[in-house]
């Protein structure tokens, strides 16, 4: 099967660009992974949504939620989902290999050097400076993804109440992530289910 034949069934949605081939996926995910100092998610959002436009903000939020709830590393799950939708199993493996191959080679190499390099003040300073840039990127992403809440079926007020409670629970009270996901996520799921049902019956009535 050619990618073209696969597209209609596997494409996330029509109307925006998609990776050209599994090789394209592999190199794109490699590039993202190698920029991800302190976690790749923020870089992935920047690349997939803002630069390459392979996903909309809404699609990214939805997929990230799924990737986070399923067992396994979040970024690996997201790579699998994206690759699988575009090119089936080949795409999934290509994206995952991109996420892991070069970074794991690099980290093992660093481990071999770390005892000598890790204590150099310049290296520690460089990591500190890059860390500050990544924190800013995460904050920018949070602001940008918050814009996607405008079109959420739960309504803006409910969304922000859930978001603020989740923020307080995780960032200030330091509650385990799993509990926040189960409790607040469960609440959101139930409320969204209700709202979507009402929207549907309104549509049917009119």
């Amino acid at each position: 099967m050619t990618p073209e034949q696969l597209q209609p069934e596997h494409a996330p949605t029509a109307g925006h660009p998609l990776p050209r081939s599994p090789a394209d996926l592999f190199w794109s995910f490699s590039a993202m992974a190698l920029q991800g100092f302190g976690g790749v998610m923020a870089v992935a959002q920047n690349e997939l949504v803002e630069r390459r436009r392979w996903m909309t903000r809404e699609e990214f939020i939805g997929d990230w939620a799924v990737a986070q709830v399923l067992p396994g590393p979040n970024m690996v799950n997201l790579s699998l989902m994206m690759g699988d939708r575009c090119f089936g199993l080949r795409g999934a493996l290509a994206a995952m290999a991109g996420m892991l191959t070069f970074p794991s080679m690099l980290v093992l190499l660093l481990a071999a050097l770390y005892s000598s390099v890790g204590s150099i003040p310049e290296v520690q300073g460089a990591l500190r400076g890059m860390g500050a840039v990544i924190v800013s990127l995460i904050a920018v992403n949070a602001v940008k993804l918050a814009g996607a809440l405008n079109s959420n079926a739960m309504g803006l007020v409910v969304c922000w109440v859930l978001a603020v409670v989740a923020f307080v629970a995780v960032a200030l009270l330091r509650l385990p992530l799993l509990w926040a996901l189960l409790l607040l996520g469960g609440l959101g799921w139930a409320w969204a289910w209700r709202q979507l049902g009402q929207a549907k019956s309104l549509k049917a009535a009119s």
């Binding site: 992974a33 939020i61 310049e122 500190r128």
Partner: protein, 190 residues
């Protein structure tokens, strides 16, 4: 630390990673305590310091944080017999940790994608959206709070603020920002 790792030890490392895979809900970092109990406590293949520095290095290096598992395997193998065993243990640990979760993720997300018009699935994605946003804000605050000493971290916050504005308002590539951060940091200016 002098114990030599036999092949059946490598196999039990693989089995242990397999058994942890599906418990890693919410990211690879959630299984750190269990890895610590097994590798440092039960088997004594790693020292406490090696364990901690493996996790720290994987977080500092680019790439998904889950690579700390490869590093733990690498160090355990290296302690037990040298570079070849280190490589074998790194690969075996990653495969063990990834095979079950990867299979499950593919199965579930394929089913979800086929049924993406179902109300229950749309509701899941929409209902979780505020949490995704909140967790990002939380991540920024938690990571940023490591630099909360006003005396030594003021320049770093200025760098962070400039990066925030540039990343938000311009199309400047992230690599330039990372490079600038690295140079300023290495010079000791931030």
């Amino acid at each position: 630390m002098s114990a030599v790792l036999a092949l059946n030890d490598v196999f039990s490392l693989f089995l242990h990673c397999l058994s942890l895979s599906l418990l890693a809900v919410g990211g690879g970092m959630t299984v750190i305590p269990e890895f610590h109990r097994y590798l440092v406590g039960e088997q004594a293949w790693l020292s406490d310091a090696q364990f901690t520095s493996s996790v720290a290095l994987a977080q500092a290096a680019p790439g998904p944080n889950v690579l700390f598992v490869a590093l733990l395997g690498w160090n355990a193998g290296f302690n037990g017999g040298g570079y070849a065993l280190a490589l074998l243990c790194a690969v075996v640990s990653m495969l063990g940790l990834l095979i079950p979760s990867t299979t499950l993720t593919l199965a579930i997300t394929r089913w979800m994608h086929r049924n993406r018009e179902l109300r229950i699935i749309q509701a899941f994605k929409q209902g979780m959206a505020p949490l995704v946003v909140a967790l990002l804000f939380a991540a920024a605050v938690l990571l940023g709070s490591a630099y909360s000493n006003p005396a030594s971290d003021r320049a770093l916050w200025v760098l962070g603020a400039i990066a925030f504005v540039l990343l938000w308002k311009t199309k400047i590539h992230l690599l330039w920002m990372l490079g600038a951060g690295a140079v300023l940091g290495a010079m000791g200016w931030v």
